[in-house]
Symmetry: C2
Subunit: 433 residues, 2 copies
Amino acid sequence: MEIIRPAILPGFLELLPKEQLFFNKIKSIIEENFQLYGFLPLDTPVIERSEILLAKGGGETTKQIYFIERDKRDMAMRFDLTVPLARYVAQHYHELEFPFRRYHIGKVYRGERNQRGRYREFYQCDIDIIGDRELDLKNDAEVPAVFHKIFTQIGIEARIHMNNRKLISGLFQSYEVEDLQEAIRLMDNVDKLPEDKFLESLEEVISSETDRQAFLEFLSFEGRNIEKLDYLKSLDIDNEIFNEGLAELEEVYEDILMLGTPEEAILIDLRIARGLDYYTGSVFETFIIGHEDIGSIASGGRYEELALNYTSQSLPGVGMSIGLTRLFFQLMEAGLIEDEEISFVDAMVLNMTEDKKYLYKVLDRLRSEGIKSMAHYEDARFGRKLRYADRLSIPYVIIIGQDELESSKVSLKDMITGDQELMTLDEAIEKIK
Amino acid sequence: MEIIRPAILPGFLELLPKEQLFFNKIKSIIEENFQLYGFLPLDTPVIERSEILLAKGGGETTKQIYFIERDKRDMAMRFDLTVPLARYVAQHYHELEFPFRRYHIGKVYRGERNQRGRYREFYQCDIDIIGDRELDLKNDAEVPAVFHKIFTQIGIEARIHMNNRKLISGLFQSYEVEDLQEAIRLMDNVDKLPEDKFLESLEEVISSETDRQAFLEFLSFEGRNIEKLDYLKSLDIDNEIFNEGLAELEEVYEDILMLGTPEEAILIDLRIARGLDYYTGSVFETFIIGHEDIGSIASGGRYEELALNYTSQSLPGVGMSIGLTRLFFQLMEAGLIEDEEISFVDAMVLNMTEDKKYLYKVLDRLRSEGIKSMAHYEDARFGRKLRYADRLSIPYVIIIGQDELESSKVSLKDMITGDQELMTLDEAIEKIK
């Protein structure tokens, strides 16, 4: 038989068992917190009608779409979870209760250029709260609060940077900027462009020298969060949008703290704008403290119109998203998370006798006690079986020999200390638990 | 703005929130048991190299493959989880420990003809135990035992039908059948073909009239499992393969019982053959008692060579699989599972005061106690908010009014009885738990 070389496509990620267990642990932390904070699970098809995915028109992501060749070619693979959410809420509008709080953890596809740490298939983990025509500002605080809890539990020190698009728009309006989108895009690139290049572009956007100086001062203002809020108030800008944005920023910031997020985990960051057109209020980005070079690991914000392309209903919302596959790769690369010794089972049973009844009784008991367990049935030496347990980081081995069988006991071997002790099954269960 | 009609593709399934919660509950039962019985999670790319998926050559499934149009068209979407498993084990052979016990719950894609209850995207839930050159027969019993536990917990009465391919092959050999594959395929269709058609085809396969009669008797033998085993022994067939198969059938059957599966949940079914070429020993199919017309809801068996197309290593295994999406649809259709009132949260908090501190304190406490909870922040009448809780089947509403705020208490409303009571937050937490 001709053998085909077993390999996956470039740009796709596949994990070995131990990495997979670790990845799943992080995914579980995310999912459990999404549930704890009251979000509904959603699962939509990976394949959508092409016209749905292309509705928004040509951005970078639409160029990266995977189209499916079958039947009439109206199919393509989703490149994010926001477009499917918009389509879902528009489609099922009359069957949903608002505010509609949903989470979605699923794979998305982008035909990106193949480079280290960038994947063409990756998990996106999103939460959004969608209102029917209106959505209270208090929702804006919940979203970053969930993500703070998640990062803390994963064991990484992350800081959520926040700003407000109204504040920025109002500021630009006060400078009599004509092309607001262009100005926001420029601001989004402040840390990416060389300084002279940035200043040059800035001249095209803000015509007055005084305003440009004021803007540069705005961008570089340093201080504690509370000092930044005071500074913004002291600017005394006579623009309604600016002041609305400032009031929102202050309120959301206070709410986040009241929701239990410590002050040092939140940063009012006047340089954050978020390029995407559709953000209209709060904007969030998340950086790992001391590893800001990795870039934002979780971002989002408030938008006025979720589903303009699919419905005339007004659906404001607020949401945030993690690209989990990339984050996992980065955390491993930077050594920020320890590759813990997670095992897929709590105990492995080794039967050294010819009897099977007692072995099966033991297995059944363990499992009914919620102890994840397996038996090593293969014909192999004792030492090889222990090595199997060791390599798979299995913490306990239960040994059934002739003595154990006759006395209805078991020997419990602790694979970390190497200690082995004869005891009743109840005692062993107690110890494993 | 031009509005695009929000819709999904035909043959794809998308659930509303309550159905989704119910679907996820079933998926969790499956996953928890897979873990409890000691299987490792595996997650492979949905997209594979086309040559990997096409390696086995033209079956019905390869005609249904979704190809991806991008770059050099070497990509396609997986149509099952077995081919990716084979590829994975062959590729990572030196990095895995054997026996390799893995579970995989993931979406697969088949461009099937569009018909009710058949989906083009569906969840497959698989377990397999793969050995390195050898795999002990005791593994064959574990796999159906897990599935029995799963169906019991889902709340459906299912019976696992079992047989052995060696027994069948040996029987056909004793009849001097020339085309074994053809004979097994015919047997697989015994309940699908009209009787005369079946008998006609049988004549082409088994030439002797006496043997045909013996085979028909074999197929129609009724009795308890133990009687079937006695009957098979009484046939006294002088064929090594037959007797090996009979010994295996008996041993696996006994092991399944010893693993805690009740006798009435297992049926030795001499009519089960399973068409697929690659099964070589135990074969399993699962039927819902009283709803056998639905067809097998979980199937599998023992195979000698998992990955012949990708490696020269001998990798025997045993596994079983559920097509979850289809099963879910069928269970709902047949009214076999009750659409329980599952809520995404345990409690909803309603703040009727201007204060936010106490509200956030309550929310934070609830969540840190593991109580899934949300606050309804919107500006709406009390009655409308209670209706929201009611429609989403939220069991408890925690009300914070001026009195509650001042006394640092809460009012807990039981949404089933309608009872409302003033109590401390600790008492409320206790009650919700």
